[in-house]
Amino acid sequence: MAKFTAKPNDLLKINYNPPQTDWMDTPVEIREHMYCHPSKKKDLDTVGFPNGRDWRVADEDWKLPANWEQTILEGMQALLKKYRSFSVFMDICVRCGACADKCHFFIGTGDPKNMPVLRAELLRSVYRGNFTLAGKILKKIAGARDLTVNVLKEWWYYFYQCTECRRCSVFCPYGIDQAEITMMGRELTNLLGLQIGWSGGPIAACYMKGNHLGLEPHTVKSCIDLFSEDIETITGIKIEPSFNRKGAEILFVTPSGDLFANPGTYTAMGYLMLFHELGLDYTWSTYASEGGNFGFFSTNEMAKRLNAKIYAEAKRLGVKWILGGECGHMWRVLHQYMDTWNGPADFLQEPVSPITGTKFENAKSTKMVHISEFTADLIKNGKLKLDKSRNDHLKVTYHDSCNPARGMGMLEEPRYVIKNVCKNFYEMPENTIREKTFCCGSGSGINASENMELRMRGGLPRANAVKFVHDKYGVNMLACVCAIDRATLSAANEYWVPEVGVTGVTELVANALVMKGEKERTLDIRLEPLPGKEGSEEVS
């Protein structure tokens, strides 16, 4: 595969006019830089996914297993019986088109099959052809078609051009959620071993080693030890966090991405500093060292299998409740799925902040609290000493990650935190934030490198809104509560609006946090000189 070299201006020639030929008669054209490589056989075998094999997307022959049509149709039947959402969404769409121009992939590509309605029709047409009387008799007149190899390829191509962000579902008069349909499509293609490598690898790693990056226990510890050294350099305070410690009050779980890649690492340092300052009785776990869940981007069963570790580890360590770090899809899973999959968590206690005494009533069953909820409560109760001015060089905007916004409704907490640690805060345009927020363009397991054109196109709507506040207010920092965002928006901003960096909310908190016994800070969390503080010799 040739390297992706297209310049932003090349990508901007977007044609929103659909082709002359009807979509059913327009065969899928699988384009370079728009898809992810397949998963390795060994990764699928590790977790017992069926039909693992070596195959190439560009090849004509995908080496599909025998009777694959039957496998898919039986799988569809089973899913229709398991999920009312799927069953209802297959029947009630009126094709009003309200969702059409709401998808970031459609906006960025102009490909009509990226309109959520049409992406759903790819599957619906096969549903009609095989599961409805009208479809069986009237065929194409009823919008039905047969399941062929090309249809399957089309499914695969477009179900991995959806990041399950649910923006379409906000605008749909019936709440039809393309994320739900994409999940079904991925369940089905997974029956045939059509997993993508960027999901398959992390899933196998997470299953065996506890986190997506495959960090082994000693590596998890050494990453965090390294952060502690940096923190000592910045603040002069030595932090010694604990791992797999029994009897701790709180288990802390965050996505492993933040242990490894900038700028997520700075957010991880933020957690360490905040918890140390609070004197929080908490522990990290190397076994449950992943809050994220790439299983969620493959099959429901896989997601449940990966998620099981969190409660299991909380039980083993005997903690009272669980605190979760900043991550998008992790919070969709924790908020809407974990308790159902692996609960009831009756071995835990209803979360109470040991610092403020606040009961987190909204988490009384799942017993897991979001770091932004936790921090907002601290600030509200005046438990943190904050020096806002350390963030004065930043002009910050906030990107609502899809899942905390549309799968959880956490909109105000992070904003409250940011406004208390930063002086300069500017919202992006109304239609691009909160429940109408745009995806980073690389969620749901497709943040690979070989599909960079797709990712940059998908990230365009978000980046364009960032550019708007950059041009208007001079915004130079994008804050978010998502580890995938920290990785992918760094790339998208670099491409579309390179002047704007990306940070986690807790990094901003840590930068402003005045710690007991700290030295005069001259460096920010990134070990870069703090503007206005470099070499200053204040008389105390």
Binding site: K102, M208, K209, G409
Partner: protein
């Protein structure tokens, strides 16, 4: 092709009823048997459809949250867009069903030079959709006049409100104008908006043409080519009281109207029109966002293979010990 087929289908239906009534004298078939069958199909079909949906469980609680969750007491929850209890869900569903809340959010993409992607307000779909559905409902309720001798008072109120402009005789119903305009707009939108045209199926045009023909024949009958209304009411009263009679000389336009609405009723459960029932069953809208407060149970949940801590420690015990991470077995 996508528009022509449904257009011809509706024309064929009209030809069929004209031929049947005008030339083959099948008034009883079109005036009694088909309407009964249509209503029976409508009711049975819709119940069947809903039961079929209902036979699949809702394994997870997956509301699409469109507002602030219930969290800390000092943060204002958006009780309608992110409801945490039954009352809020009822409110959210009522807004959705009665006022098309989500469609009201509609915005329109506008890609400008620069590039600058802008999103403009676009309420026409919402307005025409709302106008169409409400008109249809009011017209349906007004037709109760044909199925009762003593009308309940509210029906009179609806009638007089609908005709309060007092234009012409018989007085013009506002809804008659609105429904024709709204359906026409929805049709024009479907063929002129390139994206919507691209996604449209014959099954999208057919109900539009059918409803246009039903409303058109009704308007024609009321205001222009008069029919024997006393005969019509004899027939409708006969239907409703299960003592069917077919008076002679009612006028063909009535039979066209009746047959087309019968087709619409019978077609309903087997088409996208089931969104009328489906909207109530959509899990992204009809569930409370109380996920972390109240555990949701998945009826088909089953045990899965997990990689246990024990297996994990067995894999990494020495490495863990070497950096001082506590282990279960030394």
């Amino acid at each position: 092709m996508k528009t022509l087929f449904p257009l011809f289908a509706v024309i064929t239906l009209i030809v069929l009823v004209v031929a049947g009534v005008q030339y083959a004298n099948m008034q009883f078939l079109f005036g009694v048997i088909i309407p009964y069958l249509a209503v029976a199909t409508f009711v049975a079909g819709l119940i069947y459809r809903v039961m079929k949906w209902a036979s699949s469980p809702v394994p997870f609680r997956i509301p699409t949250t469109c507002g602030q969750e219930l969290s800390l007491p000092w943060i204002k929850q958006d009780k309608l867009e992110s409801p945490s209890g039954t009352l809020g869900v009822i409110g959210r569903m009522a807004l959705e069903v009665l006022l098309f809340r989500s469609l009201f959010r509609n915005i329109k993409l506008d890609m400008r030079e620069g590039p600058r992607i802008a999103y403009g307000s676009d309420k026409w779909l919402w307005l025409s959709g709302l106008a169409f559905h409400w008109s249809f409902l009011i017209i349906l309720i007004r037709h109760f006049r044909l199925f009762a001798i003593q009308l309940p008072y509210p029906i009179h109120v609806i009638e007089s409100l609908d005709s309060f402009l007092q234009i012409g005789v018989p007085m013009l119903y506002i809804t008659d104008v609105v429904i024709l305009a709204a359906v026409t707009y929805l049709f024009i939108r479907r063929i002129t908006n390139p994206l919507v045209r691209y996604i449209s199926l014959p099954a999208d045009y057919f109900p539009l043409f059918l409803i246009l023909a039903v409303a058109g024949s009704g308007v024609l009958m009321r205001y222009f080519t008069k029919v024997d209304v006393v005969g019509v009411k004899q027939l409708t009263m006969g239907l409703i009281s299960f003592r069917p009679v077919v008076p002679q000389g009612i006028g063909i336009i009535f039979y066209i109207h009746l047959f087309l609405i019968s087709v619409l009723f019978a077609y309903f459960p087997f088409s996208k029109l089931v969104h009328m029932a489906g909207v109530f069953l959509s899990p992204t809208r009809n569930m409370a966002n109380n996920n972390r407060m109240v555990r949701h149970v998945n009826p088909w949940d089953y045990p899965v293979h997990v990689h246990t801590y024990e297996e994990y420690e067995n894999d990494f015990r020495e490495k863990m010990k070497s950096v001082g991470i506590p282990v279960e077995k030394e």
